[in-house]
């Protein structure tokens, strides 16, 4: 029943009338991988998941699962389990009946269903709630019930559509960690849709970042964080996100607000660029860019400073105990390898 769970999208296009929800999407997911589809709302990530599940058909392109073309295969024949954002539990059935439903549909004998249901419920710690109806469960318990219903079948692919977005902040963090452990222990391929970059960063082995119907970057969270491909991704990943400052590039240096910073770029010549600076990569040093501290957001162990550099707003993260006062003027700089350069016209990385 369980296969490898390898996924390939080949030039997938999805049109809603004149509107292109997906404009030729390509990616590959390796077996056993935790793969996140990350992007703001309306970027096409949920459409991608629905096409993978077989709930929507692509306008063009091919979907391959384990090297088999499943583009026109029915959802129920794809051997895919899914956790919906709303959980989509069957309200008239008990928790046990909910979890058993996919096994019943697979026509498993009753003697096999009962232990499988108990086992799945134990894995997500709801085995004491099997006789309840979904309406009698808390949000967190409902979420676990949906998870159990998805893992009970040991499908080759496990799809999750923003499964944590309806939980409160504390529960979300706890469940996030458990979800990762669960996926590891099952060894199943997981595809996870989220608009929360932190969730994607912490959970995913690799991720695809969606921007207005296109994938702009595929990579490990580390790669995407360290080398964002475009201005849009740079502004989306990281909390607070990367500073994006218009600047002038001259022979390997950039000039921001009259101050010259060295970069690792070696191209000769002169042009307009957008400079990307991570708030955490900025440091205070003598002889750097002059900046006035406008506002301090104290987060406990770190603080985020809103700086005014001759009219340009820059945010900087500093460690506790190193915080200047509001209204102070400081001098900041960045190492050449921490300066990202983007083309303002194409919005892509230079």
């Amino acid at each position: 029943m369980s296969g490898q769970g390898q996924v390939s999208f080949r030039n997938i296009v999805k049109m809603h009338g004149e509107f292109a929800a997906l404009k030729g999407v390509n990616f590959d997911i390796k077996p056993g991988e935790f793969f996140a589809l990350l992007g703001p709302s309306g970027s096409g990530k949920s459409t991608t998941l629905r096409i993978l599940a077989g709930l929507d058909a692509p306008t063009a392109g091919r979907v391959l699962i384990d090297d088999k073309d499943v583009t026109s295969t029915d959802a129920r024949d794809r051997d895919i389990a899914m956790v919906f954002q709303s959980y989509a539990l069957y309200p008239h059935m008990t928790v046990a009946e909910n979890i058993a439903f996919p096994l019943e549909m697979a026509k498993l004998p009753k003697a096999e269903i009962t232990p499988a249901v108990k086992d799945a419920a134990r894995k997500v710690k709801i085995d004491h709630l099997l006789d309840r109806k979904p309406g009698q469960l808390s949000g967190g318990q409902q979420q676990r019930c949906a998870l159990a219903r998805a893992i009970v079948r040991k499908a080759r692919l496990f799809l999750l559509d923003e499964p944590l977005s309806n939980l409160d902040a504390k529960l979300r963090l706890e469940t996030r960690a458990e979800l990762k452990k669960l996926q590891r222990s099952l060894g199943v391929t997981a595809v996870y849709v989220t608009h929360d970059q932190e969730e994607a960063m912490t959970l995913a082995d690799r991720m695809a970042v969606f921007m207005s119907g296109e994938i702009q970057q595929v990579g490990t969270p580390g790669e995407v964080f360290a080398r964002p491909n475009s201005i849009d991704i740079a502004g989306f990943i990281g909390n607070p996100p990367m500073n994006l400052v218009p600047a002038r590039y001259v022979d390997g240096d950039v000039i921001i607000a009259g101050h010259r910073l060295k970069t690792t770029a070696t191209i000769p010549g002169e042009r307009d660029v957008v400079v990307g600076l991570r708030p955490g990569a900025l440091r205070m040093a003598e002889g750097g860019l002059g900046a006035r501290v406008d506002l301090i957001e104290d987060l406990g162990d770190t603080a985020v400073l809103d700086l005014d550099c001759a009219g340009t707003m820059i945010r900087m993260r500093v460690a506790d105990g190193n915080i200047p006062g509001e209204g102070d003027t400081i001098s900041i700089t960045a190492r050449p390898q921490d300066i990202h350069l983007f083309d303002p016209a194409t919005r892509m990385r230079l």
């Binding site: 599940a53 077989g54 709930l55 029915d74 959802a75 129920r76 794809r78 895919i80 389990a81 899914m82 919906f84 954002q85 709303s86 989509a88 069957y90 309200p91 008239h92 439903f101 996919p102 549909m105 697979a106 219903r149 079948r153």
Partner: protein, 279 residues
């Protein structure tokens, strides 16, 4: 405080008037059904009398027994309800869920049939049934009843189906269920409240129907609503018997109404608030 009290008194007064207006014919029927014919015609009306079951005994077991007519009514009402529901449930599901050519028109047509005055179509119906030889047959009456119970049932059920979130169905597909299995195992159990309401309404409409029945039925098929008029003739009206039959005919309506009261109230307000009609 006084304004509030005044409002309560006004409300009570108005409700009492309505209640009396509604209850009077029923109370009248029940009282008269327990009188002898001479007591019924006594003037001034007798409020104190010796109750007797005579009228009931006569209409049930006498020479003009209405038992066959009650049976007729049951066959017609149950037949109409069963056939209506068998067709209305899948139709309503399709209208609520599937995308197909002419769906908008189909939805409008269903509603438009509800607006036709029944008197206007009774003659065409009569001609159609006569031409196919179905006058005074069960299949004839049920067919005609279907023509208005089916649109009504579909229209009522669609709102219940629309209340079920799409994701529920998609979850079932991914769990390996076919469309029919999903309808049967996931959707229908969740709209069973709506189905119960629809069954009650369709059954009661068929049970209470008089106009079509009196024109399209005859000696073989004669529901109780029509048969009652045997007790009204040019020379005299057998008030006690007529009252007894009406009480008997009302019984299933009252029982169903009481049993299904909760569902019916929900059914009337379905769609008023998003999701308000569910569960």
């Amino acid at each position: 405080m006084t304004a509030k009290r005044l409002r309560i008194i006004a409300l009570l007064a108005i409700s009492t008037v309505f209640l009396l207006a509604w209850a009077f014919p029923i109370v009248w029927s029940v009282l008269n059904s327990l009188k002898t014919d001479s007591d019924v015609l006594a003037y001034p009306p007798k409020l104190v009398f010796t109750p007797t079951w005579e009228a009931y005994r006569d209409v049930l077991f006498g020479s003009g027994s209405i038992l066959p007519n009650l049976l007729s009514s049951v066959i017609i009402s149950v037949g109409t309800t069963v056939v209506t529901m068998l067709m209305a449930v899948p139709a309503a599901y399709a209208l609520a869920r599937l995308r197909f050519r002419g769906k908008k028109f189909a939805g409008f047509y269903v509603l438009a049939t509800q607006m036709l005055p029944p008197v206007g179509i009774i003659i065409p119906y009569f001609l159609v049934l006569r031409n196919i030889g179905w006058i005074d047959t069960y299949q004839g009456i049920i067919l005609i009843y279907l023509s208005f119970s089916l649109p009504f049932a579909i229209w009522l059920l669609v709102s219940y189906f629309e209340d079920i979130p799409f994701e529920m169905e998609e979850a079932a597909y991914l769990d390996g269920a076919s469309r029919l299995k999903t309808l049967w195992r996931i959707i229908i159990p969740q709209v069973r409240g709506g189905i119960a309401v629809t069954i009650v309404f369709v059954f009661l409409n068929a049970w209470n129907e008089f106009l079509f029945a009196v024109v399209l039925s005859g000696n073989t098929v004669r529901p109780v609503t029509v048969a009652m008029f045997n007790f009204v003739s040019v020379e005299q009206t057998l008030w006690a018997k007529l009252a007894a039959v009406s009480v008997l005919a009302m019984l299933p309506v009252v029982v169903l109404g009481v049993v299904a009261q909760k569902h019916i109230v929900k059914g009337l307000t379905v769609g008023a608030v998003k999701g308000g009609g569910r569960r």
